[in-house]
């Protein structure tokens, strides 16, 4: 199995274990050596939504803790280096959509991922910036974690508790259902955190680059990209949706060695 799969599974189980442990600890049980932090405390997006209140007021939005700010900083640092690797390697919601997508690929074969035309797919991708703006503004105005009422990530790890809003569960189920026909629908069209991290693709230090001189135009890189990016026509991939998953590289999909790679430095675009 690929390194990325192991890392994704590891983080998924780790976060699930913390979520379960939090519930157990609240009722007096739990495993002492494992963190029993609440899910809000270990979510780096919490750091983003609380930033405005933190800077202007020195206060945190209800339910968000300082640990979220620390994680936000670490994920940002990682993104500046290699892009939104958080999305491609860590985020359990991204991972589960991919896993459900594998099933979808088996069921629908060639028609998988073809439902939405390329142009519409690109345009729909801008919705997530609308969601990001909405979350930031309403959180700053209400001092409340409004996003949790629609957050499928929170629903994924808390669905068994009374804390989850029905709306969040409905969104989670819709996202998982859609994942059977489109790869990572939440990440592509709705995720405000993915939108935020995606900005790093414009200036990240290590970038996916395609060497046009050795490329045989087989488009393997396009067909494996979980975010629908056309790597085969890019020199440097600066697309806001890239999640640094490395699926398109010569190490994984591209059949020609050293043609699609993650490279640093200021080498000219091919």
């Amino acid at each position: 199995m690929k390194t990325r799969r192991w890392v994704q599974i590891g983080f998924f189980l780790f976060i699930a274990a913390i979520a379960v442990n939090h519930g157990l600890a609240e009722s007096g049980g739990g495993i002492a050596w494992l963190s029993n932090a609440s899910l809000h405390a270990i979510c780096p997006f919490g750091g983003v939504v609380t930033l405005y209140t933190y800077i202007t007021d020195g206060a945190m939005i209800k339910k968000i803790h300082e640990s979220s700010l620390v994680l936000m900083g670490l994920v940002l640092f990682l993104s500046v280096l290699v892009g939104p690797a958080f999305c491609g390697w860590v985020c359990p919601l991204g991972s589960i959509q991919e896993w459900v997508g594998k099933l979808g690929r088996k069921i629908f074969g060639k028609s998988y991922n073809r439902l939405i035309p390329k142009k519409a797919d690109r345009l729909l991708g801008w919705i997530r910036y609308g969601v990001l703006a909405w979350v930031l503004v309403v959180t700053a105005l209400s001092f409340d974690l409004v996003f949790s009422t629609v957050d499928p990530y929170f629903a994924l790890f808390q669905f068994w508790t009374g804390e989850v809003a029905i709306s969040a569960i409905i969104i989670l189920l819709t996202v998982l259902g859609l994942s059977l026909i489109v790869e990572r629908p939440w990440c592509r069209y709705a995720c405000p955190y993915g939108a935020f991290l995606g900005i790093s693709n414009k200036f990240r230090i290590f970038t996916i680059r395609r060497n046009a001189k050795t490329c045989v135009d087989c488009k393997q890189c396009d067909s494996v990209c979980p975010m629908g990016i056309e790597v085969s026509t890019s020199g440097k991939v600066r697309d806001l949706r890239c999640i640094s998953c490395m699926e398109c590289t010569s190490e994984a999909a591209c059949p020609i060695p050293e043609t699609v790679q993650l490279l640093g430095g200021i080498k000219d675009e091919a």
């Binding site: 405390a41 803790h65 640990s67 670490l74 280096l81 290699v82 009374g162 430095g265």
Partner: protein, 234 residues
């Protein structure tokens, strides 16, 4: 320089776990709520801590840190006799019960802090205070007689049970329905579905907190818990 999948995996793990470890060592890794209320945004008191943002998880010393009020004044106002600095507000609601549409809880503390410090606070109408607390505010010139008359009075002055203390004051009866009681617990106490719904209204899941169900159905929790207690003891 070229990076492969393995290097990304190592970078991800080292940056995230290493960063958490370093921040923990530096005392920056806090997974508990910060106890700093938001600041007032507009008007004469802009920039001051907002009493409306005092939360149930705050202790009396958190309040004393954020507002110009001492732990002693708060402890006296709310009958907290021991270990007052560490007393968490949410335990007020678990301790004092009222049969009316008001309760003595976090909102009462918000009202008291606001009137004591002179900071603005819009009443919701459910904030009860003890008679001696209202008298104290009036005597100190922090409350007009007119407003004092509008504040619901909490007559039952049941002593508080302290954490780490196994002995309970003689006349105190531990309430069956508390802040952390769930709908499932009510079934466990022998109540029927009809009885539960008739008191707290419809609920989504048995794991819901009774308090949350009451809030979303606009039923006074303080009243509901007494009615439920009566039903259990019937």
């Amino acid at each position: 320089m070229k990076l492969n999948q393995k290097s990304i995996a190592i970078l991800v793990v080292v940056i995230l776990f290493g960063g958490v470890f370093v921040s923990d060592t530096l005392g920056l890794w806090k997974t508990e709520s910060s106890k700093v209320p938001v600041k007032i945004q507009t008007g004469e008191f802009v920039g001051e801590a907002d009493p409306a943002d005092i939360r149930g998880s705050y202790t009396l010393s958190d309040i004393a840190n954020a507002f110009p009020i001492s732990v002693e004044v708060l402890a006296e106002a709310f009958f907290i006799e021991e270990n007052a600095a560490e007393f968490q507000l949410k335990r007020l609601e678990e301790t004092y019960a009222s049969e009316d549409d008001f309760e003595l809880g976090t909102s009462s503390v918000r009202l008291f802090v606001a009137r004591y410090t002179g900071l603005p606070y819009e009443r919701t109408g459910e904030e009860a205070l003890f008679p001696h607390t209202i008298d104290f505010l009036v005597k100190e010139g922090k409350l007009t007689l007119e407003e004092a008359e509008q504040i619901p009075i909490m007559e039952s002055e049941i002593p508080i049970v302290y954490e780490n203390e196994n002995t309970v004051e003689e006349e105190h009866v531990e309430p069956l329905v508390k802040g952390n009681t769930t709908v499932a617990d009510l079934f466990g106490l022998g109540l029927s579905e009809e009885e539960i719904v008739s008191v707290i209204g419809d609920y989504d899941s048995k794991g819901d907190l009774v308090r949350d169900v009451c809030n979303s159905n606009e039923v006074a929790f303080s009243k509901a818990k007494l009615t439920l207690q009566d039903l259990v003891e019937k």
